[in-house]
């Protein structure tokens, strides 16, 4: 009775499904594609990025041309003109470049430091971990804005790069913490043990085996942090700590603040741009997080 010869084949049998990494990516992609919010978010991000990149090409005027000051929006100046007579639309477009530069730059620093520290802390543990975590926690709880202000004020620099650097330096703790806990968890998994028993060196394990799995989380955090960095930079410049000649949205808002009653458009449009960009990244980041979450938790 044990012969397997009469296996019914009129129905497709399904093998237990073990998704490879490529399949997982596909599932993520599909989830992303179907989430309306994520798609919208991505669309916005794409739009902003394109506008920023093409700013010199598509801006109606140059940021250095001057027209009549404080004109409300008209057909020739869709967003109106600012306090010293520059076309606002042009400025907003150029401001996008600054914001994106800031966001990406700071996130890059954040990833560099945070990922490294998180990796080392989470994988090697012990004393190193304890010390690093103490420092991380400390920096994590410090108030961001006051510190940024102190740093910028003390170093007397209005250069955008300083701001980016400082923000990245204050932004890494969160990333480090999350990366660390993922490394801690993955360190104990079977596949790591298997790799180790095959003689893989620590670094190889970290880089080739654990890191790819952590990457998805890193990307989600990075995506959700970009709007924060853009926001902090705008806040800093808005409070007057940035470069007053730049086209940063924060600067535009700073100047607009003074003329709130008379020239509503100066704060409206840059602010709208800021909001819109934030929204895009947040929507996309949310969708990204949901899509990645579901795969790790199984269908």
């Amino acid at each position: 009775m044990s012969s397997n010869s009469r296996v019914k084949t009129d129905e497709k049998t399904e093998e237990p499904y073990e998704p490879s990494r490529a399949t997982r990516l596909f599932i993520v992609w599909r989830k992303l594609r179907t989430s309306k919010l994520a798609v919208t978010g991505f669309g916005i991000v794409l739009l902003v990025a394109t506008l920023a990149l093409l700013a010199p090409v598509i801006a109606p005027y140059s940021p250095e041309s001057f027209f009549l000051t404080m004109r409300p929006p008209t057909l020739t100046h869709l967003f109106g003109t600012d306090t010293i007579g520059r076309d606002l639309l042009t400025l907003v477009l150029y401001g996008a470049r600054i914001s994106l530069y800031v966001g990406l730059g700071a996130v890059f620093i954040e990833i560099s430091i945070g990922l490294t520290i998180g990796m080392i802390s989470g994988y090697f543990g012990g004393k190193v971990d304890e010390i690093l975590m103490r420092i991380t926690d400390l920096v994590l709880t410090l108030p961001t804005l006051p510190l940024l202000i102190v740093a910028v004020a003390v170093f007397k620099s209005k250069d955008i790069n300083t701001i980016v650097l400082v923000m990245g330096i204050f932004g890494w703790p969160f990333m480090a913490r999350v990366v660390r806990s993922e490394f801690l968890a993955l360190r104990e998994t079977l596949f790591v043990e298997a790799a180790r028993s095959m003689g893989a060196s620590n670094w190889r394990i970290i880089l080739r085996h654990i890191l790819p799995n952590v990457l998805s989380t890193v990307i989600v955090i990075a995506t959700m942090d970009i709007p924060w960095y853009i926001f902090w930079e705008a806040t800093l410049t808005f409070l007057g700590f940035g470069d007053p000649t730049s086209a940063s949205w924060g600067v535009l808002l700073w100047r607009g603040y003074l003329y709130l009653q008379d020239a509503w458009w100066i704060i409206t449009f840059p602010g709208l741009a800021l909001f819109f960009t934030s929204l895009g990244f947040n929507l996309f980041g949310d969708g990204l997080r949901d899509a990645l979450d579901v795969t790790t938790r199984g269908r």
Partner: protein
């Protein structure tokens, strides 16, 4: 480990942390380019006597560690230094402002917590419903709004165009109020706008946290057990689920004191609310270093206390933590 042991341990940790912070503050300031004495004196060209006084007081001819210790010694005794720019001891400049920041933050904090928890629970319990979808979307928008921008828009609409609410300040000056009650009402008119803006942003983030935490908790096995015992759904949600769901929220809240202070700083500046935040921006602009150092120290202490409270609150609420 009992609760008491845990608290004591945590308290002991405070001291070295404070020391570390003070070192950090001291170092940053002294790393600044330029002559320290000049920086301390402020931008005005100081007279020779003032410079001498500064050098003596800060022991600037002494080696750095000694300088640090001198400063630290003073701080511990409550002497945060002297602001040459404002010609007053730092402490006297800071002290009266604390209550304004505290008031603003407390009000905003309480309101946003209440709204966020109520809405968050409803959204989680009625997952996939209209309420859930709308409030989640609303939260996302609120979370993406730059608070200083929306503050400006609010001023534009409510103060400039509609004239309902005042633009800046804490109360109308120069008016005699018939009773304390009237004074309070007047004060509230000034509080509404800044507090509302803060509430907008904070509620958004909190709501998302509460909702996702609640959703996570409602999936747990012990919720099934609670239902299987025959408990009413309301008890299951508010007694069994909520308590667990609020744990990460508590942690986040108290550890985000820094974030809250940042938000308050922006709003205070815009609305002319005479609190610590506004002061901070002010003195940063004028590079009043001694005050800056003192204020930063105060803020750091506040953050530390908040963290401590969070840790203790968490340990009280979640029995698992005491066994770390």
């Amino acid at each position: 480990m009992t609760l008491r042991t845990y608290v004591i341990r945590r308290l002991i940790l405070v001291v070295p942390t404070l020391l570390l912070i003070s070192i950090a503050i001291f170092s940053i300031v002294h790393l600044a380019p330029g002559d320290i004495a000049h920086a301390i004196a402020g931008r005005r060209t100081p007279s020779r006597e003032v410079m001498e006084q500064i050098r003596r007081e800060y022991g600037l001819d002494q080696p750095i560690p000694v300088q640090y210790l001198t400063w630290l010694g003073k701080v511990v005794r409550g002497d945060l230094g002297f602001s040459y720019l404002n010609n007053a001891p730092v402490m006297s400049l800071i002290a009266p402002r604390i209550k304004y920041t505290a008031e603003l933050m407390l009000v905003a904090e309480v309101v946003s917590m209440v709204i966020a928890i109520v809405l968050g629970v409803i959204a989680a319990v009625k997952h996939y419903s209209i309420v859930d979808a709308l409030s989640s979307l609303g939260a996302l928008i609120g979370y993406s709004l730059p608070d200083f921008w929306i503050a400006l828009i609010a001023i534009l609409v409510f103060s400039v165009r509609l004239g309902w609410l005042p633009i800046a300040g804490v109360s109308t000056v120069g008016i005699e109020f018939p009773s304390p009650f009237h004074a309070l009402l007047d004060h509230l008119r000034y509080l509404v706008l800044p507090a509302s803006i803060l509430v907008l942003g904070w509620t958004a983030y909190l709501f998302r946290m509460v909702r996702s935490s609640m959703l996570e908790v409602m999936r747990q096995d012990y919720i099934l057990t609670a239902r299987a015992k025959g408990l009413r759904e309301r008890v299951v949600i508010y007694k069994h689920a909520l308590r667990n769901a609020l744990l990460p929220v508590i942690t986040y809240e108290a550890f985000s004191m820094g974030f809250l202070l940042s938000g308050a700083a922006i709003i205070e500046s815009i609305f002319g609310w005479p609190g610590l935040g506004q002061f901070f921006v002010l003195i940063a602009h004028r590079r009043d270093l001694p005050t800056l150092m003192g204020l930063t120290m105060i803020i750091a202490v506040m953050v530390l206390i908040a963290n401590l409270c969070a840790d203790i609150a968490y340990a009280i609420v979640d029995p698992r933590i005491r066994y770390e």
